[in-house]
Symmetry: C2
Subunit: 152 residues, 2 copies
DNA sequence: TATATTTAGTTCGATATCGTACTTTATTGG
DNA sequence: CCAATAAAGTACGATATCGAACTAAATATA
């Protein structure tokens, strides 16, 4: 790879990183007390894609180590936003379900997100989000595959 | 903001966040021992934009709290990759300079980056990086401005 | 000039992240 | 059926991140 290509790539990932950091900080600033973005993200996933998945499935969905997911889930359970129960179909694993308090919290966080990002998005050029998102999704998919191939 | 818009926004930032996470993990896996992405990013900044800036300037450049920058810099100094000296022009502040070991390290990390991202980028659709990067930069600029306006 | 305010940096404490190693349960191969 | 291996989850330790409060130095104000 020529050096210029490396530079461009690096710039690209740097922009991605800074946007991720800024959006996370902006969103978390609106969240109550000890709640973090991962907490909300998990609740959102449970609402949108359904209950009853295992901790490991969640860890894979968000590309985090399972120890990180253990920590996130225990925080949510401590706050009464989810329940973690033994999996009747597999003694090794558990099943995560969202509580009604969890649903309520998620809904109010969606409102918070709207308030955080609403004023911002009005200033983005029209249609960018719609065209960028699928492109980013594809880039993500490529990176996922590269990762699955393992480090060669 | 309608709910659909909120959803789209959320999806967008989620993709951004996952790409940031994947790229960081892929890159750090190539870095020796205790080196992190922020370590490299600071060295890269010193090489590309020049030596002799203050810790606070670096913290602002990367949008991190100054306490985080203190930690990053002390790690780099411990490894002999930078020097931190008193600022002769301002008794409160310090001046950061990169050592030759730091330069050498940065150069080899650039190679590592090329090896990490080279095989990946070949699989991205041609030209995407070139068109996406300026768009992301503009989105980032909008978010920066929104942040500077402060919480209203 | 004397005091108040602002600025740069650090220290400290709380929490997040994540790798390693472990326990428990399932699955596989003989 | 039994041993070997794999898989799910957790405990633990190391480090990163970051907010609050602090110190020291510079600047503003009276």
């Amino acid at each position: 790879m020529p050096n210029d290509d490396a530079d461009r790539l690096f710039t690209f990932f740097t922009e991605i990183g800074i946007i991720a950091q800024l959006s996370r900080a902006a969103f978390e600033a609106r969240l109550p007390d000890g709640m973090t973005l991962p907490h909300f993200t998990v609740l959102n996933h449970l609402v949108r894609l359904g209950d009853g998945c295992t901790p490991l499935a969640l860890a894979r969905a968000f590309q985090v180590p399972k120890t990180s997911m253990t920590n996130t889930l225990s925080g949510l359970e401590r706050k009464g936003l989810i329940r973690i129960q033994p999996n009747p179909e597999d003694g090794r694993s558990k099943v995560v379900t969202i509580t009604s308090a969890g649903r309520k919290f998620r809904d109010s966080a969606v409102v918070a997100a709207a308030e955080t990002f609403g004023p911002m998005v009005e200033k983005f050029p029209a249609g960018w989000i719609e065209t960028l998102t699928p492109q980013l999704a594809e880039i993500r998919a490529v990176m996922d595959r590269a990762r699955d191939d393992g480090p060669n």
